[in-house]
């Protein structure tokens, strides 16, 4: 009797092994994300840091709008126009996307009921899955002539076009995240407020939105991150010409689009090649900061709840 009890205590049965194997697999899955990020960071750093240390003038990089890496006599690497291009397009995109996505999220989360709600959710998710090249195509072939006609400008590929396209692209994802934030507000808050005689809008505005505030901020930040990182649609819709934009009708060039368009034409290891990687490091740093901010804001929610 005692011996068999001790045996059970000692024996590793199949559940024990399955548990160990599953733990190991899940661990590999989890750690691989971190390894990939580290790998990417090491790779772009290796290609770009030599350039940052030896060739580039940091002051020129951030303050000069002259991006002439292919000049024979005097190549210059001023990224200011590219940064301005990305920032202006992303800024306009947020002006378009924030009201639309928050409005849509509030409608889906707080006002729509039953079938309407389900259909809308599916449609928004479908919108989020449209490939960016399709959005770029819309910018190029539909928005372009419309902008030329409507505003009587010579070129329709500009900040306005890219901003609107990027805004429409980012809105579905922001809607989904914002709606998740609203869904995380417990229903008994809504019930309690409605039982007091609050109208649905009063409930939304006075109770649900303050409670979901952090999640909504995170949704907007992730939208900004998406805007900075988007390449293909911006490349196709922005006009891709180096320019410090004075108005929304100026063509611009984005950081991402520059890398995408030029990397294929540079000799590996050349100054130009390394300069593009420097842009990459810069982009990586920006998106990292934005995502980190979004994450910290989201953490804030969990602590308060």
């Amino acid at each position: 009797m005692e011996a068999s009890a001790a045996g059970d205590f000692d024996r590793r049965n199949s559940s024990w092994y399955v548990d160990k194997v599953v733990q190991a697999l899940v661990f590999i899955g989890g750690i691989s994300g971190i390894l990939c990020i580290l790998g990417i960071f090491v790779f772009i750093s290796k290609e770009g840091f030599g350039f940052i240390a030896n060739t580039i003038d940091i002051k020129e990089f951030f303050t000069s709008p002259n991006w002439r890496p292919t000049s024979e006599e005097n190549p210059t690497y001023g990224a200011l126009a590219l940064i301005a291009g990305t920032a202006s397009v992303t800024g306009l995109a947020m002006v378009v996307a924030v009201p639309f996505s928050l409005g849509a999220a509030i409608y889906i989360g707080e006002f729509a009921r039953g079938k309407t709600r389900e259909v809308l959710k599916v449609l928004v998710e479908m919108l989020a899955a449209i490939p960016s090249v399709v959005w770029g195509f819309i910018g190029l072939s539909i928005m372009n002539p419309v902008i030329i006609d409507l505003f009587d400008v010579p070129v329709g590929l500009n900040v306005l076009n890219a901003g609107v396209i990027l805004g429409l692209m980012a809105a579905p994802i922001m809607t989904t995240i914002a709606e998740d934030a609203l869904k995380a507000v417990p229903d008994h808050y809504r019930e309690a407020a409605e039982a007091m005689g609050a109208t649905r809008w009063q409930v939304t505005f006075r109770v649900v939105l303050p409670a979901a505030k952090n999640g909504l901020v995170a949704a907007v930040l992730l939208g900004v991150g998406r805007g900075f990182g988007e390449t293909m649609a911006v490349l196709m819709a922005s006009g891709h010409s180096i320019n410090m934009p004075d108005s929304i009708f100026d063509s611009v060039r984005a950081l991402t689009a520059t890398i995408a368009a030029e990397l294929g034409e540079t000799a590996v290891g050349s100054d130009h090649y390394q300069a593009l990687f420097t842009l990459g490091i810069f982009l990586f740093a920006i998106t990292f900061v934005i995502n980190l901010a979004a994450d910290l804001v989201l953490r804030g929610i969990r602590k308060e709840a």
Partner: protein
Amino acid sequence: MVTDEGRTAVDGSTRDGAEVKLSVRDLSISYGDKTVLSGVSFDVEEHEIFGIIGPANSGKTSFLRALNRMDDFIPEMQVEGEVLFNGMEVRRWRNVYALRRRIGVVFPLPVGLPLSIYDNVALSPQLSGIKDKTVLDETVERCLRRAALWDEVKDRLDSLGSLLSGGQQQRLTIARALSQEPELLLLDEFSIAVDPVTTMRIEDVLKELKQEMTIILVTNLVQQARRLADRTAFFLSGELVEVAATEDLFTGQVQDARSRDYVEGRFG
């Protein structure tokens, strides 16, 4: 008293000259094909505390939901029969929000809204359009005092209401319901998360509030019904067994033996 048709008759034990505040006629509530309340009828008078007792699943909470039309949130909840508030069928109130503002509700589990303590209590007056800071301040203090919470929170009215302890949140919920200055106050197991000493303090407040409003008290504590209620209804498995003056119910002068068994704790 259940009649042959399965309908419950109105008990005659009302006080003389009292106005009827709420009248329930042949009220049935079901969720899908599951009936939780069938054919209930009785009157609640102005300025009385009307107790409702009964074991779990006897339809007490669903009954309260039907009164201020909280059934609108639950698509599968069907309400039949009549609920007359001030003589008017609640489902005919075109402005359901105005109806709900006159009926305060305290839920069994405390719901401190994720707002400051001050805003929790000031929300309802603000929603009905009061902006004057001195009026709001005064309302907040009065309601918190009545709910026996003022002394504990007066120095931190700006902190989040949802971070208070369970018992404090429940008193905050009571303060919030009072801030509506309701004509009818529905209390659903208000003392479930409150300590006995505080419960007694709130009970004293309720006895005073009776001068200003009508109170329906759903409780699992039969002794609480005995302490507070003028009349008490006994619900059992979705039926109204009887409505009686509370003293009669607790001294054995009942029409149905099940009522006596229940209040004496000999049920099952």
